[in-house]
Symmetry: C2
Subunit: 387 residues, 2 copies
C-alpha cells in the first residue's frame, strides 16, 4: 500500500447560508487546493461526498457538475453516498485511489445544502435512510431513536439528565471559539434543563442542527508531497476502518453500543498499528449528545458506562487528556450531512499542524481520530491521521 | 499496486420486471457469490452502483440496506454514483480497495429499478444529470442531444440513415440469443426505416429502453484467488480509466467525438500497457445507436468517420475481428442505469472464460474492453479485463 497524505484542507462557514450547493463546494475545493499549493496543478480525481443533492437541491450528477465548474475536467469524478457518513466514505475512496497507485493527487469534497427546501422536507429526505418497514412506518425518527438509546443508557449506567448536558455544554463552548461553526455561543446546564423537549429525554440542545456547508481535502502520494516540498504540512493517513450494522436499530444486539463503530475502529487501529490510548484528539459524530458518550466507549477511549466521568473531569475539553470535538462537533459546528466527515478530518489536520482556531489548539497532538456515522448508526467510518 | 481479479459474475434478467430494487440486487449478488464459491465467506466490502434509488424507488441509504439484507454486516458498504456509469464507477472503487490492499474480497453490485414510477418520472429523474442552465431549460433531452450528434455525424462523414440502422440490427440479433436481454427479437433495416421517429433522425430502434435489473461481480486479491483455487476462472483487471468532460454538450470541442471516452481509454490502455489493437471483444455504451460508432472511434478501434465500415463488413459481429456488444448492448440487453456498467463487465468476463450464451461466444478472446457513459457523455469509465 502506498502512503497517503492530506496536504491541504478547507471548510466553508456552516449554518443556514445563502450560497448555493455549487458555490459552497467550489469555495471549499478552491481553498483546499490553495492550502496545498496545487491550484495550478491537474488533479487525477475528484471525489464528492453528498447524501442527497437530488432531493435537497434538485440537482443530480454532481460529480461531473463540480468537475466542470472547478475546471478539473478531464480528471475522473465520482460521487460517494453512505448517508451522513458520505464525507468520510468519499475520503476512503480517495485514499484507496492514492494507496493503490491509481492516482497521485485527489481532491475530496464533502457538501450538503439542506436548508433550501420547504419545512419538513429535510426530515422526509433523512427518513429515507431508515428502515421503512421496521422504523419509519411506526413513526420513528432519528431523534426518537436517539432518545430511546439515551433513556436506555441512563437506565443501565445511571447517567443523569444534567450529566448528559455536559456534552452539549462543551460542544457549544468550543463552537463559540470556532469562527466557522453554525452556533457560536455557549449554553449552560441550566439552560438545557429548561429547553424545549424534542424527544424525551432529549432537548433542543442534545440535537445537531440542519446545516448547509462544504469541506474539502487534497490527498497526495509520497512523490507528489516530495515534488511540492510539502512534507512539513502533510498529515499521514494512518488507518481507515469502515463497517456496517443492521439497518434497523431493533435488529441490533445493543442499544447502548454501536457495533459498526466498534468494528470500524478496530479495523482502523489494526491498519494503523495503534491502540485507543495512542489517540491525542478526536472528532466524534455527536448528531445527538448521547452518541458522543457511546462513541467514546465503542472506540475504546472510555470504559463502558463511564464516558461521562471523562467529561465531568474535563478530560475531553481542549486542555484535557483526550479532547473530543474541539471545534464544536456536529452539535455546534453544524451538520451538513455530506460535509461533516470531511470537516471532521479538516479540523483534525489543523490540530495536527498546530493551526487550530485561537483557543482550540490541543497541545502538540500526533494522532487524531475521526468517527462518522451513516444512517442511524449503521454505516460507520473511523479514520486515523498522524504526523 | 496489488493485482485485482474478477472471480464471480452474475446478472438478473433485464426488462420491465416485477421484482423490487432489493430483490434484483440480492439476486444478482448471491449468484455472483455462488459463481465465485464465496457464499460462505465474509466479504471485506460491498460497493453498490446506483443512480437514483431515492427517486426511482423512494429508498435511500441503499448500501446499508443491501448489506443488511445480504448478511454481509459488519463489512463496510458504500454506494457510488456517476449517473449511468455508476456501475463501472462502483467497480473502480472496488478495484481500488483491492489494488491498495485495503480489502481482499469485494462484492460489487450495480442495480436500478426504473419502471416502478409513473410515466414521465424516469425522464424527469434522468434530466437532472444534464445542465439545467444550458440544456434542460431549453427543452433538450438526452435523445434530442443524441439526435443532434447523429445529424452532425451524418453531415460530416456521409453516414446514411440505413447504415446507422445496422447498429441496432446487430444489437437486436445478439439480444435475440441472450436469455437475460430486455429485448430478445431481431429487427430489420426496413422495420427501422418505418419506425416511429423519436428525435429526427433517431427512431425508436436507435434508443435504449428504460429497464429494471441488477448485475454483480466479486473482486479478489491474488491471495484470495489462490486460497480459493480459482485461478482458472479468475479474470484479471488490466486497466481502469476514468475521465470527465464539460457537463453541457454545447461547451465541448466536438459533437462527433467524446473527449471523456478518449481520455478514459488512453488512461486504461496506459495502465494495462496495451493498445486498441490488442482488444478482442468490446462492450460499448450504445444508449443511442450513434454512440456506438463514436465510441469505436474514440477508443481507437476504428478510424475517425469510418466505424460504420467495420459494421458493414461484419467485423463487429460475434464472429468478426472486433465483436462489439455481443449480448445486445444497452439497446437490446437493456439499460437499468446503475446496473449497466456491471453487466458489461459480467458479459466480458463470460466471454473471457468461454462461458458466453450459446451462439454469442467470441473465438478465444484474451482482452476485453468495457465503456460506460455517465451523464450525457461527460463521466466515462473504460475498463480492460484479460486472462
Amino acid at each position: 500500500m502506498e502512503p497517503v497524505f492530506v496536504i491541504g484542507v478547507s471548510m466553508t462557514r456552516f449554518g443556514v447560508l445563502g450560497e448555493s450547493f455549487a458555490e459552497l463546494a467550489l469555495s471549499a475545493a478552491v481553498e483546499a487546493m490553495r492550502d496545498s499549493h496545487t491550484l495550478e496543478m491537474s488533479v487525477d480525481r475528484v471525489v464528492v461526498g453528498s447524501q442527497s443533492p437530488e432531493e435537497f437541491v434538485n440537482t443530480g450528477h454532481v460529480s461531473t457538475m463540480l468537475a466542470d465548474l472547478l475546471g478539473t475536467v478531464p480528471a475522473g469524478a465520482t460521487r460517494v453516498e453512505t448517508g451522513p457518513s458520505s464525507g468520510a466514505s468519499a475520503f476512503e475512496l480517495g485514499s484507496a485511489l492514492v494507496a493503490s497507485g491509481m492516482a497521485g493527487l485527489v481532491l475530496v469534497i464533502g457538501v450538503e445544502k439542506m436548508t433550501a427546501v420547504e419545512r419538513g422536507t429535510a426530515s422526509r429526505v433523512l427518513a429515507k435512510m431508515m428502515s421503512y418497514e421496521s422504523e419509519t412506518r411506526y413513526g420513528a425518527t432519528p431523534t426518537a431513536l436517539a432518545a430511546m438509546i439515551a433513556r436506555r443508557y441512563m437506565h443501565d449506567y445511571g447517567l443523569t439528565r444534567d450529566e448528559l448536558s455536559l456534552v452539549p455544554v462543551k460542544a457549544h463552548a468550543n463552537g463559540a471559539k470556532n469562527p466557522l461553526a453554525h452556533f457560536q455561543k455557549g449554553v449552560s446546564v441550566e439552560k438545557i434543563r429548561r429547553a424545549r423537549v424534542i424527544a424525551d429525554p432529549l432537548t433542543l440542545y442534545d440535537c445537531c442542527p440542519t446545516s448547509d456547508g462544504a469541506a474539502a481535502l487534497v490527498l497526495a502520494s509520497s512523490s507528489v508531497v516530495r515534488d511540492l516540498g510539502l512534507r512539513d504540512q502533510a498529515v499521514r493517513v494512518l488507518g481507515v476502518g469502515h463497517a456496517t450494522d443492521y439497518l434497523a436499530v431493533q435488529h441490533r444486539l445493543s442499544l447502548t453500543s454501536m457495533g459498526a463503530t466498534v468494528r470500524a475502529a478496530e479495523n482502523a487501529f489494526h491498519m494503523a498499528g495503534l491502540r485507543p490510548s495512542d489517540v491525542d484528539v478526536c472528532e466524534l459524530h455527536d448528531a445527538f449528545s448521547i452518541l458522543e458518550l457511546i462513541a467514546m466507549e465503542d472506540i475504546g477511549i472510555a470504559q463502558r458506562g463511564h464516558a461521562i466521568d471523562l467529561v465531568k473531569e474535563g478530560l475531553t475539553e481542549v486542555s484535557g487528556d483526550i479532547p473530543v470535538n474541539t471545534t464544536g462537533g456536529l452539535k455546534a459546528r453544524g451538520h451538513p450531512t455530506g460535509a461533516t466527515g470531511v470537516a471532521q478530518l479538516r479540523d483534525l489536520v489543523l490540530q495536527l499542524r498546530g493551526d487550530a482556531p485561537k483557543g482550540l489548539q490541543v497541545d502538540s497532538p500526533s494522532v487524531g481520530l475521526a468517527h462518522n456515522i451513516g444512517g442511524f448508526g449503521n454505516n460507520m467510518v473511523v479514520t486515523l491521521l498522524g504526523l
